[in-house]
């Protein structure tokens, strides 16, 4: 069995079948991309995997254990971490604090321990701070640690969001259009970063409609159109696939 398995996922909004019987799998430590035109159902599929939406039907497994009926916070604890297409950083908090929240599931202090500032919770707090700072340094944004996260430039916010997701020490990282709104240099930076993250042994599922990014970094690509999977394969095959070319370049190819 593959590391992440999606089987016959379905989800409709009213009469619209946003995700219609989609199945695919991601091998351990692979980079898989889901592409497709706007409205193809990519983000819905993501939300179904991450648990923020409940599927009408279908199943999802991580390392063989089912996750399709779990709430998002339980799925996160099983090692699936995500970013959002329209960045969702925590407002009124610094970059460092945002990343420190990623350490939440890797720490344990409760309400009373926190209020009484017991020595164990103080030590844990130091740990959280150090690990988060290390992560920021590694991502090359250590100098931004003290700034308010939502006041940063868009490209930087993307990186902070990825750092926050990595702070949870995920085994699977879900990236929702990591290059959306970025310029070409930032896009290259992000693709280098994704490759580096994979080197750490993390399995990556990325949604993107920037073809150049996807073709360069993915091991495998699945293509969605109108909620259905229309193609799946290695980048070179997808680039030649007639149907993919049709949905991407439009129908008026006369």
């Amino acid at each position: 069995m593959s590391y992440l398995e999606i089987k016959n996922m379905c989800r409709a909004f009213g009469g619209l079948k946003a995700v219609d019987d989609v199945s695919f799998s991601v091998e351990r430590n692979a980079i898989k991309a889901v592409i497709g035109p706007n409205g193809a159902g990519k983000t819905t599929l993501f939300n179904l995997i991450a648990g923020s939406l409940e599927p009408d039907a279908g199943e999802a497994f991580i390392d063989g254990s089912p996750i399709h009926y779990l709430p998002p916070y339980r799925i996160a604890r099983l090692g699936i971490s995500r970013t959002f297409q329209n960045i969702k950083l925590f407002s009124h908090m610094t970059v460092l604090e945002n990343v420190m929240i990623g350490r939440h599931i890797r720490s344990r202090s409760g309400l009373l321990q926190a209020m009484l500032r017991l020595s164990r919770s103080r030590k844990e707090e130091r740990d959280i701070r150090e690990r988060s700072m290390e992560l920021l340094e590694m991502m090359g944004i250590g100098d931004l640690a003290g700034q308010e996260a939502t006041s940063l430039a868009f490209g930087k916010q993307r990186i902070v969001e990825i750092a926050r997701a990595l702070a949870t020490e995920p085994s699977v990282l879900l990236l929702d259009e990591p290059a959306a709104g970025l310029n070409i240099y930032e896009t290259v930076q992000i693709s280098d970063m994704i490759l580096k993250i994979r080197e750490k042994g993390i399995t990556i599922l990325v949604i993107e409609h920037d073809m150049s990014l996807v073709m360069n970094i993915s091991d495998e690509i699945a293509v969605l159109s109108s909620g259905k999977k229309i193609a799946e394969g290695v980048p070179a095959d997808i680039q030649r696939n007639e149907e993919v070319i049709r949905v991407y370049l439009g129908e008026d190819d006369a």
Partner: protein
């Protein structure tokens, strides 16, 4: 280092001592009475600030939790048990040393349950009720949460106003002092003004320190992340529903404890403590204080409650707090006492000064 963040706490303690020495030196100790009351109300405000400002969940029913504390203690400590013999629970309380025999205002002996027991019962009761109503209510967001908590507040108010047990419109009076330890007692006796001021201040300082620690911790960050983006918080593995419930119950306990102590200090409690307008004024004070600003909330809590209790707003009291809320929500919905606002004000003043300077040169 770590102790640096407690500097404001030391400043607060210094202020408390200096103020007490000053009013005593000027023989104006009667100021301490309303200040003590304002300090207890500030305890409600502090809890509400963490709920509203940091976790982003509104409660328009916090007066209900205050009243729950006050009335529970009032009912429990005003029952005369002198002639109750053979009741299992009463005997058990006697055996555990939870009853107190003292003279009432008319000089005859009465026996009542210890306020310590009452405090424990009040807190447990508040935790249970806040927990039970919190589970369904906190699924709501924004206006809907405000409406639901408002509804809860109104229900508690009507129960208090309508039941014989709670003294209907008269409330409950002749509540005995809360003897804490040694000669310390929470009571309205003018001779005990100074020590009561210190007891209330002590509770406020402890409350502030506990909440400061909380905000700056793993749990506090989780709460603040819910405010920032509940969806992202969930995706980070934070059980947002559970944390919202935690903080709702905690802030209810703060209100309840304040209610217990203030009721013993006042020697009585009436239904106006559970009034919806009380809840509105708490929310208004949190908003003026800067929402996510413990110190702002504390300062405004003391000042506005003090002014209100001294009668500065006269019969316009409700009008004042209502207007404050409207003005804040219209113009500075993120709260008034915030660093950003202070900076914006500084910039505006600098601009004004430059403009004036330019005018003069012309």
């Amino acid at each position: 280092m770590a102790w640096k963040k407690y500097i404001p706490v030391f400043a607060l303690i210094a202020c408390i001592i200096v103020f007490q020495l000053a009013v005593t030196a000027m023989s104006r100790e009667f100021y301490l009475t309303q200040l003590t009351m304002a300090a207890y109300y500030s305890l409600v405000i502090l809890g509400l600030t963490v709920l509203m400002g940091y976790a982003g969940q509104i409660s328009m029913g916090h007066a209900a939790f205050f009243a729950m504390g006050g009335y529970t203690s009032a009912v429990i400590t005003t029952r005369d048990l002198m002639n109750v013999k053979g009741a299992v629970l009463v005997d058990l309380a006697r055996d555990l040393g939870l009853t107190i025999v003292e003279k009432n205002a008319y000089g005859s002996d009465i026996e009542h349950l210890s306020p310590w027991a009452a405090l424990a019962v009040a807190v447990v009761l508040t935790v249970i009720i806040a927990f039970l109503i919190g589970i369904p209510i906190l699924k709501l967001k924004g206006h809907y949460l405000a409406m639901a908590t408002l509804g809860f507040g109104i229900i508690v108010y009507r129960i208090v106003l309508g039941s014989r047990l709670f003294g209907e419109a008269d409330g409950i009076s002749d509540i005995p002092p809360f003897r804490i330890v040694g000669g310390l007692a929470v009571s309205g006796d003018p001779a005990l003004r100074v020590q009561n001021f210190y007891i209330a201040s002590f509770l406020v300082v402890v409350g502030v320190v506990l909440l400061m620690n909380l905000i700056d911790s793993r749990v506090g960050r989780a709460l603040r992340s819910i405010h920032g983006s509940e969806e992202a918080a969930n995706a980070m593995g934070i059980d947002t529903a559970r944390y919202k419930l935690f903080i709702f119950v905690l802030s209810a306990v703060f209100a309840c404890v304040a209610g217990v102590f203030l009721t013993h200090f006042n020697g009585g409690i009436g239904p106006s403590e559970a009034d919806v307008m009380k809840s509105v004024s708490y929310v208004a004070i949190v908003a003026v204080g800067g929402m996510a600003n413990l110190w702002g909330a504390l300062i405004m809590g003391v000042i506005l409650n003090y002014l209100s209790l001294r009668g500065y707003f006269g019969s316009y009291d409700e009008f004042v707090f209502g207007s404050i809320l409207i003005v804040i929500m219209l113009f500075v919905p993120e709260g008034l006492l915030r660093m950003e606002n202070a900076r914006a004000l500084a910039r505006a003043l600098a601009r004004l000064r430059n403009n004036l300077g330019a005018d003069r040169k012309q």
